[in-house]
């Protein structure tokens, strides 16, 4: 299968500080992968590097064979990378309708399709961004990213800080997104249960390096191995 997104020998960080070291990662068209790891191992930095928010020290990031090195963030978004940030970053002074509207670009993902995925958003259309619950903000953040009609969706800990019942609902949505063959997804997630169930392939990061890149099933079946790889136990 052709690689949609590829990182080759990528070392990146913030200014002089190197967070990611020698990362090799390829994401095929329509493929979904989960990235897990402890706090501070570079999961968010990995997504930020794809978006162009970090300093790239070496290596190359390509999208459909085209180098993204040096490309400004908004051009990467226009090239087809959608990003759901950890902090959700809803525009508080804009309504739900406006938050969605300013991101929308023509394509398969329409407002109607987003509302089908998140019926709650359709009920809250005229509420301001700062009047939404955490779960609703997360739905809006995902909906807004989908309306940019990306080919690759980067999601940074979408279940963080949400009530269990909302996490369950969101997990069902993630499964529906994963079934969409036109969309490749990188899901960064602290909740390893959600991550391992989301995709057949999992990447584990530790100290800025990939320590596992393979099937999720063996990790689901062997929690001790998972704990060792993540670095929770020696």
């Amino acid at each position: 299968m052709a690689s949609a997104l590829q990182l080759r020998g990528v070392s990146a960080g913030y200014g002089e500080t190197v967070v990611l070291e020698d990362i090799d990662l390829a994401l095929a068209c329509g493929e979904c992968i989960s990235v897990v790891g402890r706090n501070g191992v570079g999961k968010t930095t990995l997504l930020s590097t794809v978006m162009g928010h970090t300093t790239l020290h070496s290596g190359e990031v390509t999208l459909d064979g085209q180098s993204l090195n040096g490309m400004p963030c908004f051009r990467r978004a226009l090239a087809g990378i959608g990003f759901v940030p950890q902090e959700r970053e809803i525009f508080p002074s804009l309504s739900v309708r406006e938050n969605l509207g300013i991101a929308a670009r023509p394509g398969a993902w329409t407002h109607a399709r987003v509302f089908e995925l998140f019926p709650r958003l359709a009920e809250r259309l005229d509420n301001m961004g700062n009047q939404l619950s955490g779960g609703e903000q997360q739905m809006l953040s995902i909906g807004r990213a989908l309306l940019t009609n990306p080919t690759i969706l980067l999601m940074d800990e979408p279940t963080e800080g949400l009530a269990p019942v909302i996490v369950e609902a969101l997990t069902a949505v993630l499964a529906r997104l994963a079934a969409d063959s036109a969309l490749s997804i990188i899901l960064v997630e602290q909740n390893s249960r959600v991550a391992l169930n989301f995709s057949p392939r999992t990447v584990i990061l530790d100290k800025g390096r990939i320590v596992y890149d393979g099937e999720s099933a063996p990790l689901r079946a062997d929690p001790d191995r998972l704990a060792k790889l993540i670095g929770i136990v020696e």
Binding site: F74, E89, F91, P92, S93, S95, A103
Partner: protein
């Protein structure tokens, strides 16, 4: 309810504007000054309040518009008022566009200083070109052609000037209102609130800021041109820091990023200035200063922001009962 829908109270400023015309025929000159200040503050609101472009040099565009109308009229090149304002908008907009390309690469204090520099450069250029601009003395007794060839801009009665200024403000306000509620205007709000998020959803941030700055400059140019037409006079004061600071104070006083903050701020500032200057001719600025301190301490979002907060509290209290 969708925010861009017209609400009943939005008619009030325009009704007040017409009532003022009939109720205070001796104060129409003051009324013109008020309408020009509202329009100028509205132009600043677009850049500062909606797009978050910090500027202390907006008088550069106001002055460019005023001198465009003033010089064209003074040398009898163009005296028709409506097209004169369009030319003022064109010149100010062009300066806004060209300076914006350079300025909007920067942010924060650098941007603030550069906006000041552009204004100082234009002021100095107007001073040095005294042969054409009148220098310190300015260009007096500008001949402005009758509106539609019928209504004279009389030096004694400001009837035509006032109604013309009210009509120009109305048209410009409608334009700004449509703009801020359009997807473009919403993207400006997004840029002000979270520029990195706007980048991440593929918004060409810098291009949009330049467009906004250009439109804002053009509107400031219309305000400047309107001042030149209604007073038949233009001098270096239109390009000065005083004017730039005053319009900023007006906007902060009324509440920025709220459309009507320009109206409230201008009315209160000019009315208070007028009143205090009569009561304390030598120390009227002290009263204004004290009021600004109170606003800065207790109403950081201006008078409209304070009103919104109080209204929300009232509604919250009323809600459960």
């Amino acid at each position: 309810m969708r925010r861009h829908r017209l609400r009943w109270w939005e008619a009030l400023p325009w009704i007040a504007g017409i009532v003022f015309y009939f109720a205070f025929p001796d104060y129409l000159g003051f009324g013109c000054e008020l309408l020009v200040t509202i329009l100028f503050a509205l132009s600043l609101d677009l850049a500062l309040g909606y797009a978050g472009i910090i500027t202390l040099g907006h008088a550069a565009f106001f002055g460019a518009g005023a001198y465009t109308v003033g010089m064209l009229a003074s040398y009898n090149i163009w005296t028709e008022p409506i097209t004169g304002l369009l030319l003022a908008a064109l010149v100010a907009g062009a300066i806004g566009f060209l300076s914006g390309i350079v300025l909007l690469r920067t942010r924060g204090l650098t941007l603030l200083m550069l906006t000041l520099c552009i204004m100082a450069l234009l002021e100095q250029a107007a001073n040095m070109g005294a042969a054409y601009t009148g220098g310190f003395d300015g260009l007096p007794s500008l001949p402005i052609a009758p509106l539609f060839g019928v209504f004279d801009f009389s030096a004694l009665y400001a009837d035509t000037q006032y109604l013309f200024a009210l009509a120009v403000l109305f048209v410009c306000f409608l334009f700004v209102r449509i703009l801020v509620y359009s997807p473009f205007g919403q993207s400006l709000t997004g840029i002000r609130e979270n520029v990195s998020r706007m980048h991440a959803i593929g918004s060409p941030v810098r291009r949009r800021l330049i467009v906004c700055y250009t439109i804002s400059a053009a509107l400031a140019g219309v305000a400047g041109g309107l001042l030149a037409q209604t007073t038949a006079y233009v001098n270096l004061a239109v390009l000065g820091l005083d004017r730039a600071a005053t319009v900023l104070i007006v906007l902060i006083l009324g509440g920025y990023g709220r459309l009507y903050g320009a109206f409230i701020g201008a009315v209160i500032y000019l009315a208070l200035e007028h009143f205090l200057a009569q009561v304390y001719p030598t120390a009227w600025q002290l009263g204004l200063g004290l009021m600004l301190v109170v606003i800065a301490l207790f109403a950081r979002n201006g008078i409209l922001g304070l009103a919104e907060t109080l209204w929300r509290r009232y509604e919250n209290r009323r809600g459960p009962s």
